[in-house]
Symmetry: C2
């Protein structure tokens, strides 16, 4: 039965989408069957996998409007065992409708994800920045959450509050359990781990912040560090995961190392 | 009477906060009296100006709970004519309350900003990523909006939709005018302009995306380009605007050039 892991952060632009796509592809290349769900209405996941505005005709709104199973909304990618789903939202009215559904009917999303667990080994959910309705619905559907930590001060500073906010969210939701019993049956999501991204070890600020994050959150931090590389920055232009078009680059190797760490840490728990 | 300009973008981490703080300081150094309002609950503005968790005791919630004027909530900075206001929010409950106020009682925020126009030449509002309640309230209170465009594909890709979303928002709000007449008296916000940020001209991807943005949005794009520099990345660690601690650096000079362009373009309209 598949595991569901969300990529979350309050800070924007820290590598959630880049990490979700490359981790998903790395898991798929090592034999997992993977579903990548982008719940961010920006649709960064589909963009990073080479799909622009008019190329997709189904999306997450169908989960709410027509109870379509996630597996029927999923599109194939260049990687054999990797499929993805995206909101497929292009207007403000659609975004408002989607956010309203995620806020008032998170159960439908949680149950759709639960049903997909039978079909995939690993389900990754890419969230927008912040603790908005999409992120909360994703957390409700998840076993755990991964937090990319950009090696910059504003991101380091916001990390403590993110972890505290998720803690209060868990306490509030699972105490009240305002979902129906089935949806609430999954245990509250736990922290899978933190990992440093976009680290430029050559600059003082990069090294200083990375050291501080290690000091403050060392126990939850993976050893793997994802460097800032132009290879990774090119991904959305290429429309493929970096682990596909340049498997041996520093960024790709980091993502392969990271999935090894995620798997072995999880097994050790 | 002061002008109100919001920094907005759907994409996260593109330099909204960094630009709001440095533009605010640059305006102040050239003689404007400036109020910098951070409506993002992450409180990046106060962090960038050196204020951590327990140093501030008043914030934007007071606008809603006690009708306190913005000027009484404002704190001084190292720059003579620059003051700032921030949400001053530290728990999930407070964030939920704040978002609810911004969604259901935007009038109070708009009227507080309107009252502050008599006291400041320029009011800049730093928004969180996306089109959430804080950004919508900021747009309602604004004369215009500035959009930082990070020279990366995902940001370029999301730009068209951001501009279209703001257009639909304007049409919807000012057609229905669901605010009371006083708040709706300000005209709908217009695009002040776009500017390229975090541009690393040495990389192919940086140059390629910058060229494409110029091609697609040339008329609305300022000539000034803000480079990606370590000096700017250090700002939140130093707790001061970069135009203060390193006025002659490439980043600072770009922000001084940018305010000149904003002022002259606005005058020419
Ligand atoms: N390790 C890296 N090296 C270089 N560039 C990177 C790296 N990781 C991400 N990027 C680039 O930085 C930008 C931000 O990354 P990304 O969009 O993945 O972050 P995000 O957290 O998903 O952003 P948002 O908050 O908007 O959802 C993108 O343009 C991406 O191409
Ligand atoms: N021109 C620049 N050169 C180098 N680093 C920069 C530059 N502009 C911003 N940064 C850094 O990039 C990160 C993102 O910038 P910033 O936080 O200002 O963006 P934002 O759009 O406000 O993010 P959010 O979407 O989370 O509000 C920060 O760590 C900041 O220090
Ligand atoms: Mg993203
Ligand atoms: Mg910001």
């Amino acid at each position: 039965c598949g595991r569901v892991i969300s990529l979350v952060s309050r800070k924007g632009g820290v590598g959630k989408t880049t990490s979700a796509v490359n981790l998903g592809a790395a898991f798929a290349l090592s034999g997992h069957s993977v579903l990548l769900i982008g719940v961010d209405p920006q649709c960064g996941v589909s963009r990073s996998l080479g799909h622009g505005k008019f190329e997709l005709d189904r999306g997450l709104l169908d989960v709410f409007q027509a109870r379509v199973p996630l597996n029927h909304l999923a599109y194939p990618t260049d990687v054999e065992n990797l499929r993805f789903v995206t909101p497929n939202i292009w207007t403000l009215d659609e975004e408002d409708e989607y956010k309203r559904f995620m806020e008032t009917n998170a159960d439908a999303f949680v149950q759709a994800v639960d049903r997909a667990r039978d079909l995939y080994d690993t389900i990754l959910i890419d969230c927008p920045p912040g603790m908005g309705p999409e992120t909360r619905a994703a957390l409700l559907a998840s076993d755990s959450y991964l937090v990319p930590v950009q090696a910059e001060e504003l991101c380091r500073d916001s990390l403590g509050r993110l972890l505290a906010f998720i803690q209060s969210f868990r306490d509030r939701i699972f105490a009240e359990s305002n979902l129906d019993a089935a949806a609430a049956s999954t245990a509250p999501p736990v922290l899978e781990g933190l990992f440093l991204t976009m680290v430029n070890a050559r600059t003082r600020v990069g090294k200083h912040v990375a050291d501080q994050v290690t000091e403050e959150h060392g126990l939850d931090l993976y050893e793997t560090i994802v460097p800032r590389t132009t290879r990774l920055a090119e991904m959305a232009l290429r429309g493929k995961p970096c682990v596909i078009y340049d498997r041996r680059s520093a960024g790709s190797r980091a993502y392969f190392d990271l999935i090894d760490e995620v798997v072995s840490r999880h097994a050790a728990r």
